[in-house]
């Protein structure tokens, strides 16, 4: 895997950061923003990435921002209350215990209340306003504010320290989908219609400084289908176009990959339907399969299996084109297997393992 240019930058005087025994592609990144088209498994991949990062030790915060309680469902725990809760312990590496994953279901309402309390010294006003529906109203007439509050929460967690120690080694954000990610992260423009001075502006500037630093990387989750891949390419182009000091692009995480295990020539032959059904029938017989009586008994079954094989080969060829488009982005690509037996904790650990093996964490 290529080493990112900024990999050798100092980690702003960090005293706690555990030095990993091996290099990963994203050394120095502490805020991982994970986006993807709906249906690509964005939340699952974000959770797997958090687990993978935590296996180096320390604490990792996994944060969701869309109010759907996806973290609780994935980790099979009750809906997350306000605040950060431990949701999993990561597998360790030889000689070192695994770290912990904390979950946070961030919502703009409590972020605004927190913000008002901190900056305006309004300890009870925030809650009263929330009850009246004012907070919802304010974030409604200024949708940009909602985003600033959420990215602000991620930036705060990334920078949070107790004494000189960082609270979290890394923060993984399950961000809005690809179609909205550029706007979501483009904090400066988002608040341009808002107050020109004062704490909210200062707040936005702080958020911006974290999001646009080498500490932050934006990862795209996709599957090998035309529309999600196209959206990924569009999203990447949009991020790259934001500004010269644009956001740091992260990895391309290709989810739900099914391996076909054929060579190029075999793929081409199978996709074209050039399969010897008689030979296949003989093979089935050799394997002890007798489907129907008579000498031609396996022909029917062989025909069906050949049709399946042809279909898989065509799918694999179509996916190869999509994979090449993704490779053209020029960022590291990681492949995650399709988990067929339901996404549970075991599945998450498998995906986390795959991310680690490929150097994503």
């Amino acid at each position: 895997m290529p080493v990112p240019a900024w990999a050798d930058q100092p980690l702003d005087g960090d005293s706690l950061l555990v030095v990993s025994a091996r290099d990963t592609d994203w050394e120095g990144v502490r805020l991982h923003v994970v986006t993807g088209k709906g249906g690509t498994g964005k939340t699952t991949v974000a959770a797997a990435l958090a687990l993978a990062l935590a296996s180096a030790g320390g604490k990792v915060l996994l944060m969701e921002v869309e109010g759907r309680q996806g973290i609780a469902q994935l980790f099979d725990c009750p809906p997350l209350p306000e605040g950060e809760r431990k949701v999993a312990v990561a597998p360790g590496t030889p000689g070192r215990a695994g770290g912990e994953v904390y979950g946070l279901a961030a919502d703009p309402e409590s972020a605004l209340v927190e913000y008002l309390e901190t900056f305006y010294n309004l300890p009870h006003a925030g809650r009263a306003l929330n009850r009246l529906g004012v907070v919802d109203f304010v974030t409604t007439i200024a949708p940009g504010l909602r985003d600033v509050l959420l990215t602000g929460k991620a930036a705060e967690a990334t920078r949070r320290r107790v004494g000189r120690r960082r609270v979290y080694n890394a923060v993984v954000m399950d961000a809005p989908p690809t179609g909205r990610i550029a706007r979501f992260l483009n904090v400066a423009t988002e608040v341009s219609g808002l107050a020109k001075v004062g704490p909210i502006r200062g707040h936005a500037d702080t958020v911006q400084s974290v999001i646009r630093s080498p500490q932050t990387a934006v990862h795209f989750v996709t599957v090998l289908e035309e529309m999600p891949v196209q959206e990924t390419l569009d999203g990447v182009a949009e991020l790259r176009g934001l500004s010269p000091d644009g956001l740091q692009l992260g990895g391309i995480m290709i989810n739900m990959v099914r391996r076909v295990g054929l060579t190029d020539d075999q793929l081409a032959a199978a996709a074209a339907g050039r399969l010897d059904v008689h030979e296949l029938a003989l093979g089935l017989k050799a394997a002890g399969i007798e489907d129907g009586a008579g000498p031609g008994g396996n022909i029917d079954l062989a025909g069906s299996l050949a049709a399946e094989l042809t279909e898989r080969a065509r799918e694999a060829l179509a996916q190869r084109e999509e994979r090449e488009l993704l490779a053209g982005i020029g960022q590291p690509c990681y492949e995650l297997p399709l988990i067929t037996d339901g996404m549970d904790l075991a599945g998450l650990y498998r995906l986390a393992g795959a991310l680690r093996e490929q150097g994503a964490a």
């Binding site: 869309e66 004012v134 989908p177 004062g198 076909v260 062989a302 898989r312 799918e315």
Partner: protein
Amino acid sequence: MTPRETAAAGDALGEVELRPRRLEVDRLLDDPRTRIIVCCGSGGVGKTTTAAALGLRAAERGRHVVVLTVDPARRLAQSMGLTSLDNTPRVVPLPDGHGDAGGSLHAMMLDMKRTFDEIVEAHSDPDRAAQILANPFYQSLSSSFAGTQEYMAMEKLGQLRRADEWDLIVVDTPPSRSALDFLDAPQRLSRFLDGRLIRLLTAPTRASSRAYLKVVNAGFGMFTGVVAKVLGTQLLRDVQTFVAAFDTMFGGFRERAEDTYRLLQTPGTAFLVIATPEPDALREASYFVERLSQDRMPLAGLILNRVHPSPAARLSAARSLAAAEALQATAGMDGNGMDGNGADGNGSRPEALNGGAEDAAEGAHHPLAVTALRLHGERMQLAAAERRLAQRFTAAHPGVPTVRIPAQPEDVHDLAGLRTIGESFAAS
């Protein structure tokens, strides 16, 4: 017969299985009383493509159809022979031999800002309309408010229905985190525009609200104070001028949202819930089914999209994988068999997969059979996992008719591709 057409053969043998009633899509499309079909479901389940396939099939069966999509999918437009879709229904020419039933197909893509602008222009005099359209707050409301897209989709649906130029409207709902947004968001927008708080905020511009203001005065000062502090006074002023100019239209907004909502409850509407056999998508589908029944909305059924049935389901996963392994073992270590780990380029000769005739006769090895058996086993495992998930849905909603649409090996690029999907609605 392609494997696509034998979907039902892929269902489990030898397992006790809850079988949902079959969703008769063609009967639904052919019934002249069906005037609106709403395709809903969570993001990424194939709503847009399904809506287009339904529209094409209905048109080719003789109906006059308009498909309203909200997803700016260029490729879908191209697959219908259009370079792009816009806010006006465009005719999609049916190829020769497919328009014989006398039907027609139109397609359009929702432009929410344009639709909002049109409402403003239609319901106020030109000066006031210009004033509203130029208002910065209106601009952000009409292009980025969460709920505007859903409201405008409903609005457009109402317009198309009133135009009465088509006898079937197929709607693809906006991509949202939750399928329920489509039902709730329009009311959120009208509630917001019509709401107490927006009136409070703009109270100083209304003389008549002075008495009202007194009552809520305690909260009001703090409210405008906070809003001004956080959002800035400029935005506040924009909102106030917007509300003043928009005043007479507020009531209309709520009324229209309620009208369309009622339209959706009439028997001429059919909701199709679309899901892929994945936990999240099916969970959303469950919520949606419950919500539809709560609101007495006519649910036609579930389209279970992208399933992997097998034409050789009689050969189980376990048996297939075991046979592949046994065959591989007898083939020995000659290095020409499949290694099964997906590594490309092991240098075998072009047609190695088919093996040589002599090899087969000697029973030496059968690489083709090994590969076919391994892939079949994996496919059967995937199909079984999909079936387990679908079963959970059926157990919770036994009365919901269902149709399964097989996954297509390649993406849809043309009307023929949409037609293939349409055919699988009818296959049984």
